[in-house]
Symmetry: C2
Subunit: 235 residues, 2 copies
């Protein structure tokens, strides 16, 4: 936890917050902050700054906070990701949040097992926990938005043109002729398939919407490694 | 397991192998290959190709193998990595192996807890298991070499000049003035610190050996994410 993320509910008054949950425990037991010491804090979807510990009991910690600093810039990307298997989803959500993705679409594709959509990992409280951990890790306050898409074709044909408008559209898929480009300065919409890849129909549907195929070389990477590799090359 | 990795011990004769361990189980239970079907195979540190299933019992699978293809090219890098905490080490070994790192040095630094060196994760059989999983994932046969360095200063002063000779030397550290470069075509020696970073003395010692400081931006990434991000930008 490199940043304590605050919400409006934590405020006692204009510049004092009271924490009673895992943030209190973390300050007390891991960071071992005592009265007068400071810690980095940020308001969810708002500014970041410093909190000075003004009182602490076994039950709660009170901080006086001064927020002056903007969170780090988001990556200018919309990430369309075939729903990974549940254990991989958890880690992937943390990675992409830490890396600065703010718009994530989790999609059903032909090679995604339908049962994944029933996983407890897709419950809002579990997803939010991984997003929070990603933000706390990276020191960021802007909450990512996540859309879940269970019907690929109508999504790609009807919704994707609006979502991807004005961006460079890329689909990462083994065997595509072009290598992933580096250090882009334009907004990107990036589609990444499941383990086993997209099926030909899906690639064609994306290409019809202007998506350009790119590859990551001859090595087959796990989804979580491939996502980090692609985002790191692109930006 | 995208590649079944063979060793000399598996051979019955010039082109027939017999598998009795987890590879046999994987062929039978996960891939469900039957007689006449093929699977991708590779000889440890050697060529890759196809194996045709010629017989299978509950105990063993026999494959006729033809190896003709070179494994994917390694990344031209020597990676010096402050020893991560044990759970992170396991995943990091798989990531870097899958990405093509062949020379890895695990180092003690001031902010590495000394107890990490006693972890069961550092036993050769555990390390080899993660390297094998990385190679099986990425479809590669070249085994990475791992050096363990418990004394930072004599290593950097006495051994590192020979190791890094002829390569571009980089140290990734938050707050350095230069951003990580993209798509290098030269060999690289890259040093990555522990959670909490290198201490000033360590940075100075590396800079004295010609290491150039680079950063990954304002976000604080976990070691496993940072390693993948750095390797993906550099190559």
């Amino acid at each position: 936890m490199n940043l304590i993320i605050l919400t409006a509910d934590d405020y006692l008054n204009d510049n004092t917050v009271v924490l009673r949950d895992r943030r209190h425990q973390h300050l007390k037991q891991v960071l071992k902050r005592t009265t007068g010491e400071t810690v980095q804090v940020g308001l969810r979807d708002g500014l970041m700054g410093e909190g000075t510990l003004i009182s602490q009991s076994t039950e709660e910690t009170q901080l006086q906070v001064v927020l002056t600093q903007a969170p780090p810039p988001p990556l200018p990307i919309t990430l369309l990701l075939a729903l990974p298997r549940p254990r991989m989803l958890a880690r992937t959500l943390e990675h992409v949040t830490a890396l600065g993705v703010k718009k994530l679409v989790l999609m059903q594709t032909a090679r995604v097992e339908k049962s994944y959509w029933q996983s407890p990992e897709l419950r809002p409280e579990k997803i939010n926990q991984h997003l929070l951990q990603g933000l706390e890790q990276a020191r960021d306050t802007r909450w990512p938005s996540i859309q879940q898409v269970q019907r690929f074709k109508p999504f790609v044909e009807d919704e994707l043109p609006t979502i991807s408008k004005g961006s460079r559209c890329l689909v990462a898929h083994p065997g595509m002729p072009t290598a992933c480009p580096y250090a882009l300065e334009e907004p990107v919409t990036l589609a990444i398939g499941p383990e086993g890849g997209f099926v030909p129909f899906e690639i064609e549907a994306l290409q019809k919407q202007g998506f350009e195929g790119i590859h990551l070389g001859p090595r087959i990477l796990r989804v979580e490694t491939a996502v980090t590799a692609l985002l790191s090359k692109l930006f």
